[in-house]
């Protein structure tokens, strides 16, 4: 929450002026009953028409002043709250983009998106309401009370009893029901999830004949929610009648005491009316205050969720200016890695080294640790133990820019962004010329389909590149990495959507690159890694074998199994 105040403090002037003008408006409101009292007690009693006109003129004046003050206040409140939210959003966005993957996984991307969007919007609304009303309502309540004291001390004592009692009841019921509403919301989420499960899993449910038990499960949750709903409902249903009775009892008391005071000549009839009006005004404000507090309460919770992101300490830090790479080599020394919160290690005690310009294939089954290894090389995560050296230095010794400059990554998921093909290719190097782009496209076997697209490089991709096929997306992500012309090229299962012939052509043109980058090629296909200078076989996070295709095929059982599962003919033939 302190972050909200931090960014609000950039709008100090506005956030002070908004409530001030609101108070001014409230002050004008408070004068109204007094003026009406004077009309009754002085104007009517003495049949003084000019006086009455004067006082009514005053009422008009108060109305005009009121709306002027109010509009000014709304303007400042809107400026401060929207401005605060804008800065908060930018700061949170920048923070998210700077977080390590371990932290992003922990906070979960979908939750981060919610925090950046709806949570911050809620904070904005809450802040706006608070600036406008948080001071106004209590001010009117206390102002009315003071005005009452000025009119008649004895009658005002009624206020002194009624107001706290009323507040106590209203806030008491609210305090009890807020956590209950949260529970209701939670069970509604549950019901939503069950409904959605029943739809997405309809075939499985029907195949396993679970219709009845699914209905029973749903019914149980639903009835529990209804019971909870009715219980919370009964609480809030009581609020209105109770406050209504309390207010009117106060009014009865007021008339009774008022009557006695007037009878003794201590008060005039108009003043009784004024007190009556003040009481009515206070009630309206108390009700507003109650709903305001719910809004603020919700905004506060959202603010905390956003604050949690901003307060997250980045566990991956880079030295400001660090070592410079000596060459394009890679050395992995006894590296183990466990994902934060995972039960067991994803990589255990792996060692290998790659000479500059060499091509290394990494092969292994689902969950064998191939992608994790790539994530360690790029320092998306830090190793749990062991050393990882790029260009002869530990990855931790490089500044962020120097580390990033060394490698180009083609991630497993072909992630493209909304924008032209050109925008997407120039992700790493905004300076690249069109000739550079076409060259990369040719190597990535993408030149043909790009030039056949309307506009070529100017072809607009939709969000996530939805208007391309899987293979086309994959080739563009390869081209994007090539445009970077980095010393080390990391391909994480990036030919899975290509047919065998295209994939072979791709590898041939990669091999002809000059200068030749050190290449790490991760794949599930034996055909993709067969020609590599060395092949690492990963199994269950461990290095199960290392060598050339011929060596491994001869004496590595894991590699043999993988190979023969993909080339069954040869086993029989030879």
């Amino acid at each position: 929450m302190r972050y909200v105040f931090k960014y609000l403090s950039d709008y100090r002037k506005e956030s002070i002026l908004a409530p001030l003008f609101k108070l001014l408006e409230a002050l004008f409101d408070l004068f109204v009953p007094i003026v009406v009292a004077r009309i009754i007690d002085q104007g009517i009693k003495t049949h003084n028409q000019p006086y009455i006109f004067g006082q009514v003129g005053l009422l008009f004046l108060l109305a005009f002043l009121g709306i002027a003050a109010s509009i000014t206040a709304q303007w400042f409140a809107a400026k401060a709250s929207v401005g605060m939210a804008t800065k908060l959003r930018q700061a949170t966005f920048d923070k998210v983009e700077s977080l390590s993957f371990a932290k992003i996984d922990q906070l979960s991307p979908s939750s981060l998106i919610t925090r950046l969007t709806s949570d911050i919007n809620q904070v904005q609304t809450g802040c706006n309401m608070a600036l406008r009303l948080l001071l106004r309502s209590p001010f009117i309540v206390f102002g009315s009370m003071i005005a009452a004291f000025l009119i008649n001390v004895k009658a005002a004592l009624i206020f002194l009893v009624a107001v706290p009692l009323l507040a106590l009841v209203a806030f008491g019921i609210m305090l009890v029901s807020i956590p209950l509403y949260r529970k209701v919301q939670k069970s509604l989420d549950e019901i939503t999830r069950l409904t959605s499960e029943n739809l997405t899993g309809v075939r499985v449910i029907r195949a396993f004949r679970k219709e009845k038990s699914e209905v029973a499960k749903f019914d149980a949750k639903l009835t529990a929610m209804t019971t909870l709903n009715e219980f919370v409902g009964r609480l809030s249903v009581a609020l209105n009648p109770i406050t209504y009775v309390m207010i009117n009892l106060a009014m009865i008391a007021l008339i009774w005491f008022g009557g006695q005071e007037v009878n003794q000549g201590q008060m005039a009839q108009g003043q009784v009316v004024a007190l009556y009006n003040y009481l009515a005004q206070m009630i309206v404000e108390l009700i507003k205050l109650a709903s305001l507090i719910i809004t603020i309460n919700r905004a506060w919770a959202c603010g905390d969720r956003v604050g949690q992101v901003l307060a997250t300490e980045n566990d991956l830090t880079y030295p400001e200016s660090g070592a410079k790479p000596q060459d394009k080599s890679i050395k992995v020394e006894n590296v183990s890695f466990t994902y934060p919160g995972a039960g067991g290690p994803s990589i255990s005690q792996i060692s290998f080294s790659v000479k500059p310009g060499e091509t290394v294939g990494i092969i292994g089954g689902t969950g064998s640790g191939k992608t994790s290894l790539i994530s360690l090389l790029t320092r998306f995560y830090d190793v749990t133990s062991g050393n990882l050296l790029l260009g002869g230095r530990k990855v931790q010794d490089y500044s962020k820019e120097d580390l990033l400059a060394q490698f180009a990554l083609v991630p497993q998921k072909a992630q493209l962004f909304k924008g032209t093909i050109r925008d997407n290719l120039k992700y790493a190097s905004s300076q690249a010329s069109d000739a550079d782009l076409w060259e990369a496209l040719k190597v990535a076997q993408a030149a043909d389909f790009v030039s056949s697209k309307k506009g070529g490089l100017d072809f607009e991709l939709e969000q996530e590149g939805r208007n391309l096929s899987g293979g086309q997306k994959q080739r563009l992500t390869i081209a994007r990495a090539l445009v970077k012309k980095a010393g080390i090229l990391l391909l994480d299962d990036s030919d899975s959507a290509l047919d065998l012939a295209t994939s072979a052509k791709l590898r041939q043109s990669l091999a002809k690159l000059d200068p030749k980058p050190t290449t790490i090629l991760v794949s599930q296909r034996a055909s993709s890694v067969m020609q590599a200078d060395q092949i690492l076989v990963l199994d269950d996070g461990k290095l199960a074998g290392r060598g050339t295709h011929a060596e491994l095929l001869k004496n590595n059982p894991v590699y043999q199994e993988i190979y023969y599962s993909q080339f069954p003919k040869e086993k029989e033939g030879e």
Binding site: V36, E97, N121, T192, G201, R203, V237, G364, T366
Partner: protein, 593 residues
């Protein structure tokens, strides 16, 4: 034209409201009392200020206070407020019950409906849409409709009663108020028109921004790997500044509504004070009367504003109602599985497990025939493979076997019993099914494996997991079998292994595997294949596969194209034919030059 359309949709919304009323007809007594009590409490609440006014009139000046009368009035008030509070309390309780019971009734009906709807309906409607009908629309409907009615009614009563009470005090002042009221509407309308434009721009810009956030957060790996953070931040800032401008204007304009209506109200208040004061001087009104009139003038606007918002809310609720009823009134499939346990048709008695498809025709849409004249006899224990390009009808054949869809012509017989003459449940009981789409429910790993056999022991579960080669990863999960599966905690391959384990546990008489190992690496696939081979021994099975390596040992391979079987036979024969299968096979295993 547009007008006609509008009329039509109006008629539809009335129809929908009628349906809701019918649906809740068993609560009609409650509804009646709710409305009655609403009327009572409003009338009482409106009458109270008059009595207060009368009481104030008895307080004239020093020594001129009639305490006897005041006591009488105050006693009256006490009774009135007690009655009014009681009425509104009971009304609240009734509404509470009415709303939540209706919601529950609708949702219970809906979840049952989902179980019996034809898959053609569910496949052609997005699940998000159906969920929002059952959750959001149902809430809106009951809230909006029930409260809407009661507010509409009380609003009407309030306005009517207020006018009567005000007329009884002063005709002139009442007319003055009635004449000035439209002013407030005009102002509110004017402001709403202007802020609407800004709100639209605001939500458009928010949409653009959310899209960017989704891309930059979802693709954060690429953003970081390419050092794009700085440019991402700049792009974000640009949209953010635009949003700030629209948002500020939208917030400001919309927040003018309240002050503006309050201003109009203040003007009316002042005029009533003036007219009232002058009327008192000329003896046509009392001070208490003025107090009551001022009080009414203050709250007179509220029901008007309420009613205009209630009308929008009612329209909205009616739209929701028609969406909800469209779902729950949908015709269920024929021979739908009974949820009460009493099936109309007899069960399927399994003999040897011979499956015969007898000249089956089927299409999803009448104008596009898909499967034509499909015939096949699968004898006991045979392993049938279905191969062919995407959209050739492989999965459709599975849909027909499981009776997810019904054939339009021809018959499917299992041990000489037509599957259309037995109940669906007993048919599905005989098949174990693994689909490419790996659906798991939210729950523990154990719950998911035991999905088809709730009383399975841990030993049985672990045994099945070992057979399906899922035990390796399960035992490494932080809580083993008790690990809660959340949305994305498993990889696609691991999910598929769990789906296979689920079937391994049940050991069904016949098997259907539709791309059951598509997300699993080839080596694990081979291991699983062995387990399947063991499981399928002596069982009739149908396998759809993309990777041909998994089906080369089948007893019969059906090569499908455009809904028809173009080649059938065993692997070696089909290869020898050098036809479509030969081409398909070689495109997957081509040796590289």
């Amino acid at each position: 034209m547009a007008n006609k359309k509008k009329q039509q949709s109006n008629a539809q919304s009335w129809q929908a409201i009628g349906k809701v009323l019918k649906f809740i007809s068993r609560y009609r007594l409650l509804l009646f009392f709710s409305i009655l009590l609403a009327g009572v409490s409003v009338l009482l609440q409106l009458y109270v200020p008059i009595v207060f006014g009368n009481a104030i009139d008895q307080i004239v000046g020093p020594g001129r206070v009639d305490f006897g009368k005041i006591t009488g009035y105050l006693g009256q008030i006490a009774v009135l407020i007690a009655l009014s509070a009681a009425a509104s309390w009971v009304m609240g309780l009734i509404n509470n019950k009415l709303i939540y019971q209706t919601i529950q009734d609708i949702r219970q009906r809906a979840i049952r409906q989902i179980q019996v709807l034809p898959l053609s309906y569910l496949d052609s409607h997005s699940s998000g849409d159906i969920v929002s009908r059952i959750i959001a629309d149902t809430d809106q409907l009951s809230d909006g409709l029930l409260l809407g009615f009661s507010q509409l009614f009380t609003g009407g009563v309030t306005i009517f009663a207020t006018l009567v009470f005000m007329f009884s005090k002063s005709v002139l002042i009442t007319l003055l108020v009635i004449l000035l009221t439209p002013l407030s509407f005009v102002v509110a309308h004017f402001i709403a028109g202007h802020s609407y434009q800004m709100f639209r721009l605001q939500s458009q810009t928010r949409g653009v921004q959310t899209a960017l956030i989704e891309e930059m957060v979802g693709g954060v790996k690429v953003v970081k790997a390419f050092g794009y953070e700085g440019r991402a931040s700049k792009r974000f800032a640009k949209i953010n500044e635009q949003l700030q401008e629209y948002s500020q204007k939208a917030t400001f304009f919309s927040s003018l509504t309240n002050p503006a209506t309050r201003f109009i109200n203040s003007l009316i208040y002042a005029l009533v004070a003036l007219a009232g004061a002058l009327a008192i001087i000329s003896g046509r009104l009392t001070v208490g009367g003025l107090s009551a009139l001022l009080n009414y003038a203050n709250q007179y606007m509220k029901p008007f504003n309420d009613i205009s918002s209630v009308v929008t809310e009612l329209q909205n609720a009616a739209a929701c109602a028609s969406r909800v009823f469209e779902l729950i009134e949908q015709e269920p499939e024929i021979d739908a599985v009974s949820l009460t346990g009493k099936e109309e048709k007899p069960g399927l008695t399994l003999g040897a497990g011979t499956v015969r498809l007898d000249h089956v025709d089927f299409s999803y849409t009448p104008d596009k025939p898909l499967i034509r004249d499909f015939y096949l006899t699968a004898k006991k224990g045979m392993r049938i493979a279905l191969v062919g390009p995407t959209g050739c009808g492989k999965t459709t054949t599975i849909n027909l076997l499981m009776r997810f869809y019904d054939a339009q012509d021809g018959d499917i017989l299992i041990d000489d019993q037509s599957i259309y003459s037995v109940n669906r449940s007993s048919l599905r009981e005989k098949f174990g099914m693994v689909l490419q789409d790996t659906w798991l429910e939210e729950g523990t790993v154990r719950d998911n494996i035991a999905f088809g056999k709730e009383d399975a022991t841990d030993e049985e579960i672990i045994e099945a997991a070992k057979e399906a080669h899922s035990w390796d990863f399960i035992k490494r999960l932080s809580q083993g079998l008790d690990t809660e599966l959340l949305a994305d905690s498993l990889s696609a391959g691991q999910k598929q292994l769990l789906c296979i384990t689920r079937v391994m546990l049940v050991k069904p008489p016949m098997l259907i595997l539709d791309e059951a190992t598509s997300s699993i690496d080839t080596r694990t696939e081979m291991l699983i294949q062995k387990a399947f081979d063991k499981l399928m021994e002596g069982r009739t099975s149908f396998v759809v596969a993309h990777r041909l390596s998994t089906i080369v040992n089948s007893d019969l391979i059906l090569v499908m194209k455009d809904g028809q079987i173009i080649e059938r036979g065993q692997h070696e024969d089909l290869l020898a034919k050098k036809g479509f299968y030969y081409k398909l096979y070689n495109s997957q295993f081509a040796k590289l030059a």
